[in-house]
Structures are given as C-alpha cells and as structure tokens.
C-alpha cells in the first residue's frame, strides 16, 4: 500500500484518530478538500463539517467542528477543538438543538445572537448528517 499516509486527528482531550489512511475529506473555510498522499504542504483552517477517512474499502465518518489542518507529503494532522464519531452523538439532542436554533432564527426580534444561532444550527445539522446512514 504505497499510497497511504499517516492521519492524525487530535483533540484537547485525547488523540482521536491515529492510523494510516488512503484519502481524507474535510471542509475548510475555503471549501471542501480531499487529500491524498503527496499533497503539497498546506495549512488551512477547518470549517464545521464532516470528516471522511478512507482506508482501503472502508470509509469512516466523524464530525469536525473547529480547528485547523496541517498537510505534509506523507502526514496529515488535524487539530480539532471538537471531533466525534457518529456513535457518540446523541441524535435526539441534536434534533432538539436543530429545532431550537431554527425557532430562534425564525423570530429574530428579541435581540438574539444570530451568528451564534446559525452556528448552533449548523452544528446540529452536521451531527445529524453524520449519524444518517
């Protein structure tokens, strides 16, 4: 397997993922990217989205909320503030968060923090998307 690279996903609390991968997909502030081995060295800021780790035939999904990614030729390091596997996500809670955020955005009169509500909505949607099979 010549075209594998080392992928590390680290969060403040633990090493989330540390294994070889053939391809990884994630969202950055500049758009979604897919990274193979021998990518040009790059550092980018991570936007909330889904991380897809391709290993041989298998694809692993995880949510990624904020952080940045450092890409080197044979190594990719994702520094994530929050990362979760789908099985760790509480679907019910995410649905509730979605409803709450949508309601907030619907009646934006009462001086609420719109940015914040939008971010909360986005997080909820990403979590739901990651758990959907």
């Amino acid at each position: 397997m010549a075209d594998m690279f080392r992928l590390k996903v680290v969060t403040p609390d633990r090493i989330f993922f540390d294994d070889d991968a053939s391809m990884v997909e994630l969202s950055t502030t500049e758009g979604d990217i897919g990274v193979y081995r021998e990518h040009i060295p790059m550092t980018a800021v991570v936007a909330p989205g889904i991380l897809r780790i391709h290993q041989d035939q298998e694809v692993k999904k995880a949510t990624l909320m904020a952080g940045f990614v450092e890409i080197l030729k044979d190594r990719v390091t994702v520094m994530a503030e929050v990362a979760e596997w789908p099985e760790d996500i509480d679907v019910k809670r995410a649905q509730e968060a979605q409803a709450r955020a949508e309601r907030r955005l619907a009646n934006r009169s009462a001086g609420i923090d719109i940015m914040r509500a939008e971010l909360a909505l986005k997080r909820a949607l990403i979590r739901l998307e990651a758990t959907a099979k």
Binding site: P12, D13, E30, I40, P41, T43, V45, F68, M79
Partner: protein, 284 residues
Amino acid sequence: MATMRDIKRRRDSIQSTEQITKAMKLVATVKLQKSRVRAEQSKPYFNLMYETIRSIMQGSSNIRHRYLKAGDSPRKAVIVISSNRGLAGGYNSGIVKLVSSSLPSELTDVYAVGRKGRDSLARKGYAVRGDYSEVMNGPLYQDAADLTELLLGEFAKGQIGEIYLAYTAFKNTVVHNPTLVRLLPVEMEAGESETKDRAIMNYEPDDETVLDAIIPKYMSSLIYGALLESAASENGARMTAMDSATNNAEEMIADLSLQYNRARQGAITQELTEIVAGANAIGG
C-alpha cells in the same frame, strides 16, 4: 504537670484531626490519579500545536501580525490558576509569590481561576478583573476558550498590552513548579525543527488569516493544559501535605500517650503512698 484528663482530651482531639487528614489524603490520592490522566491526555494536542505554530513562524520570516507584538497599553493581564480550597501545603502561596515577585501590582490585571489565589492577590493590592473560580471544579476546554476570547477582546481594544499565565506545572507527584509564561505576544524559543519539508508550506487562504485562527486556539490549548496540570498539582500538593500532617499527628499521639501513662503511674503511686501513710498513722 498536666493532669491526666487534660492529656487525654488533647490526645483525643489530635486523634480526630488525624482521621480527617487521613481521609483527605485518600481523597486527594484518588483525585490526583484522575487529574493526572487528564493532564497527560491533553499533552499531545498542546505539543503538536506548539510545533505547528513554531514552524509557521520559521517558515514565513517576515509576518507582521498584531498578536506577535505587544500592545500599546502598559497594563498586563495575568491569569492566575490556584485552588478553591486550602490545606494544600505551599501550593497556593507558591503561585501568589511568583506573581507578586514578577508583576507589579499597580500595572497588572488579575483574572483569577481559584479562590485562594484571588483573595491573596486582592489583599496585596492587585486589581482582580475576573473571577472564574468555579472552573477549577471541573476544567473544560470551553472554559479555556471563553477566557481566551475575553482576553483577546481586551487586547484588541487596547486595554492590555501583554497577557501572562501563572500556573503550577506538574512534573510528578511530589514535584510541581509554579510557572509564569507569556501568552501574548507569542514567543517561540528558536530551535532546530524539521524545516526541510516545511519550507514551502502554503497557507489557505493566507498566512495572516491562518495565524488569526490558530493563535487563539494556541492560547486556549495552553490555558486548558495549565488548568489540568494545576488541578493535578493541587491534588499532589494536598496529598503530600496531608501525608505529613498524618505523620505528625501520629508522632504527637505517641508522645502524649507516654505522658499520659507517666501521669497515670504518678497518680497511682501517690495514692498508694497516701494509703500507706494513713494506715501507719492509725496503727502506730
């Protein structure tokens, strides 16, 4: 010479104190184990973060970023991490001493995490701007991120020129060092790093934006690591302090037991002498 009753009372009181210190030691030991694991688990994130920032700094030599130079204000902010509860030996006084010897009280704003440090620094005349003592009961990454956001806001407004962090670094169970580090402007110790494949690092969208996003995360990770290390140090310090308190109590109890037995023997001897003397007087 103290009477038997006095000695007995004193010994009982020391005995109950010993029970308390013994229990506290056990609790601190369990907590130490837990907080130590957490502190160790946060290490890789911080180390990687540090490496990344350093390679960015070295890769792009002439970046001018607002977080890389001191602000115009002469005021300094310091986050002081201490404990909410006492009986932890020199843990709190160590950190307070460090802050008061390195930062002048009239130019320093204190953001306190931990009640003990807050109170002693306030007594010494420091302006306590914020109090986040409840964080110490269970530090979360979000707490560190909130603190970072607040301080960066103050920095951007020009209220403060530099940001420091005072915490107790955890080396091992018995060695913990009060440490003061500068968070902003960011300082990196120059060192050999693997610049070979990093020299042509690209930044998306550009290096300034990336630094803008990374430096707050770097600060948060530093603060978070410091919170966890301090929690481990606090429990370590308490464990050691309570251990020696228990030993001292045991020593005192042994001393008092000896005194008590001597007093008891003395009393019996005296009583016997009195009886014998009384019998002699009657029979004589």
